[in-house]
């Protein structure tokens, strides 16, 4: 651990933000808002929010991604059926317990039925909160898809102009695109670093460094990422006898950090994952020349990462997963899907068939954000690792 001692700043930084992530990012955000009076906050429900439009209006987009495993669900259970996933319930619980009062607006979009209905539930229950809903095009091959989505983004922009009380001009939008391009570029670098030398950057570290970008201003996050990437690049840890895997399925609801750590401790190096996908959802930079709204719409159609809630008929979803395994050099896949997550469960049928056809071993695990006991998951991962390591 000599290397860790040589770069204490990054460990201290990760440790500090780990407490925030495990505790309450919303409390942290409330403190931030108190120090920045006048700045409006817009909550973004996963997955594909055009944060540039919010940022360009001088507001701060912050993720609303459930309540973690420390939030007691006391009220939301009476509003939703028992087969609805945890993130929907915990997000409503945050609202019903007043923890989302720091927000001036919140935005949902068409990712699944419970999420879609959550927008209506919020509209009814929180009349003072500006609830916005983006209808993404379902047919990505239509020649009208770009103009449709651009029109949808313009409608949303008009809504935020009303919230902030001033117009959001193209120059500000282009500047916001530049800022988020830089942030997402650094996140890609961080992921590349972890994929190339997973012994030097754990997945839980990668996760925390990504997660803080969901509640810090992007400019602040960029500075942290630069420092973290430089520090992690200097590490030189021994590569342990573990199997290398790609993790898939947790694009919306987020697992507890202990579960992520448990997967690694059970003998896996995770070379790629789909955690917090909504905050790193472009595989390439968004164009900055030309009409920014048009550029954002086109980027969603052509440059956004695949997920369980985007249906792109141009390329089978399972092919992306198989390609990811081949490109990273992983030897197996862990499907980590949230309990009752219909998109992830539907995808599993496709993934399973493709992985078996390609001879790629996989393990299917279910999780819930409100999860305290990890023995079962850990035993399952250990067994999976043993089945590949023991002859």
């Amino acid at each position: 651990m000599a290397n860790e001692k040589a770069h204490p700043a990054i460990e201290a930084l990760i440790s500090k933000y780990r407490e925030v992530v495990e505790g309450s990012p919303l409390e942290y955000t409330a403190d931030w808002k108190a120090k920045h009076p006048g700045v409006k906050l817009v909550g973004c429900y996963p997955l594909y929010t055009p944060v540039e439009i919010i940022h360009a209006g001088g507001m701060l987009p912050v993720a609303v991604i459930g309540g973690g495993n420390r939030l007691e669900i006391a009220h939301a259970d009476s509003r939703f059926q028992s087969f609805v996933c945890s993130i929907v319930k915990s997000t409503l619980e945050l609202g019903l317990t007043g923890q989302l009062k720091i927000l001036d607006g919140i935005v949902f979009h068409s990712i699944c039925d419970p999420a879609r209905n959550l927008a209506s539930v919020f509209t009814r229950n929180f009349p003072d909160l500006m609830v916005e809903y983006i209808h993404f095009p379902q047919n990505l091959t239509s020649r009208h898809a770009v103009s449709y989505l651009a029109a949808e983004y313009r409608r949303v922009k008009a809504s935020y102009e009303k919230l902030v009380g001033r117009p959001i001009d193209n120059e500000a939008l282009c500047q916001s695109i530049r800022v988020y391009n830089e942030q997402r570029g650094l996140l890609r670098d961080l992921y590349r670093l972890r994929s190339q030398s997973p012994q030097n950057l754990s997945t839980v570290e990668t996760y925390i460094l990504t997660r803080i970008g969901t509640f810090l201003p992007p400019e602040e996050h960029i500075a942290i990422l630069k420092e973290a990437i430089a520090a992690a690049s200097r590490r030189d840890e021994r590569l342990k006898d573990r199997i290398k895997v790609v993790l898939e399925g947790s694009f919306c609801e987020q697992p507890p950090l202990e579960l992520i750590e448990g997967l690694e401790a059970a003998g896996c190096y995770i070379l790629d994952d789909d955690f917090l996908l909504g905050w790193r959802w472009f595989s390439q930079d968004v164009a900055v020349e030309g009409d920014p709204i048009q550029n954002l719409a086109r980027a969603y159609l052509d440059r956004s990462v695949y997920s369980g809630v985007k249906h792109d008929t141009r390329e089978p979803k399972a092919k992306h997963l198989v390609d990811k395994v081949r490109e990273t050099g992983a030897s197996a896949v862990v499907i980590l899907a949230a309990k009752f997550c219909e998109p992830a469960l539907f995808d599993y049928a496709l993934y399973r068939r493709a992985l078996e056809a390609e001879g790629i071993p996989h393990l299917y695990l279910e999780f819930e954000e409100k999860m305290w006991i990890f023995d079962k998951a850990r035993t399952e991962v250990e067994t999976f690792v043993e089945s590949m390591l023991f002859d």
Partner: protein
């Protein structure tokens, strides 16, 4: 001669198997699980060593399994109960392709390859209705000794249905059956049928292939074996001591690991650093 030990620290009992390098069992022990796992594992190991006429220093490798596998500080390595039970079952019944292991706290369905390697597996949710603890609670409520449950269940002439998916609610159903004057035999068979139906669902999810070996303490109950065979519509292999299969698998894997280490010419090393010093 080389000797290895497999220690299975399970939810109800801790089992030890000592093997020699001809894979012959030289000693074994079963001790009720209680707090202080290091002392418990040492006590169980000492009983098995005494039976084998060996000293602790005669052991070249100790592999642990079960939920307390990480809490045995003198182990060389720890292996999950799923991997161990698959290897143990395939050793006893070489044509095994599916293993059902019902322990006190959990149930596992494993699909295995010819050599006992795990191909796929499923474990039950954290739910008492799917494991041996459920039978124990039912026996306790019906004031029947757990060792008599298997024989009583076989005598049922009109098995009662226990439909609840939750052990607590199932207990209410048992109370209703008692109030309705149903016989203990018929109620116990209902409990076994309920467990067998859950086990079958788990096995189907893992992939069901002949031959099937039934492991774990619950496999000692004749009524449970009968219920499972009826549900699966085929015979299952049951060894004389099904609860020892996990410890046997741990010992076999320990021996295999030792042979590999000695063949490769390097010192024993754990997969990861032991978490207990």
């Amino acid at each position: 001669m080389v000797f290895v030990a497999g220690i299975d620290v399970g939810g109800k009992s801790t089992k030890v198997i000592i093997l020699d390098d001809a894979r012959k069992v030289r000693g074994q022990a079963v001790v009720k699980t209680r707090p202080d796992f290091p002392a418990l594992a040492r006590e169980a190991l000492d009983i098995a060593l005494k039976q084998a006429g060996l000293k602790a220093s005669d052991l070249s490798y100790i592999a642990t399994t079960g939920f307390g596998r990480y809490n045995v500080p003198f182990r060389d390595n720890q292996i999950t109960e799923i991997t161990c039970v698959a290897r143990g079952a395939a050793f006893l019944f070489p044509k095994t392709h599916s293993v059902l292991d019902i322990g006190a706290q959990s149930t596992r369905a494993v699909r295995v390859a010819e050599d006992g390697k795990v191909r796929d597996f499923r474990t039950n949710d954290k739910c008492a209705a799917g494991a041996g603890g459920f039978v124990e609670r039912a026996a306790k409520y019906l004031e029947v000794n757990i060792d008599d449950v298997g024989e009583l269940s076989v005598q049922a002439d009109k098995p009662q249905t226990i439909s609840s998916v939750c052990a607590v609610l199932a207990e209410s159903e048992i109370i209703n059956h008692v109030s309705a004057g149903e016989s203990v035999q018929n109620i116990l068979r209902g409990v076994h049928n309920s467990l067998a139906s859950r086990a079958m669902a788990l096995m189907k999810r893992a992939g069901l292939e002949d031959e099937i070996t039934f492991a774990g303490g619950v496999a000692r109950q004749k009524g449970m074996v009968q219920a499972l065979e009826q549900a699966l519509k085929r015979k299952v292999n049951v060894s004389a001591e099904p609860e020892m299969i996990g410890a046997l698998g741990a010992a076999l894997l320990g021996l295999r690991r030792l042979e590999k280490i000695r063949h490769d010419g390097h010192e024993a090393a754990t997969k990861e650093e032991p978490r207990v010093a």
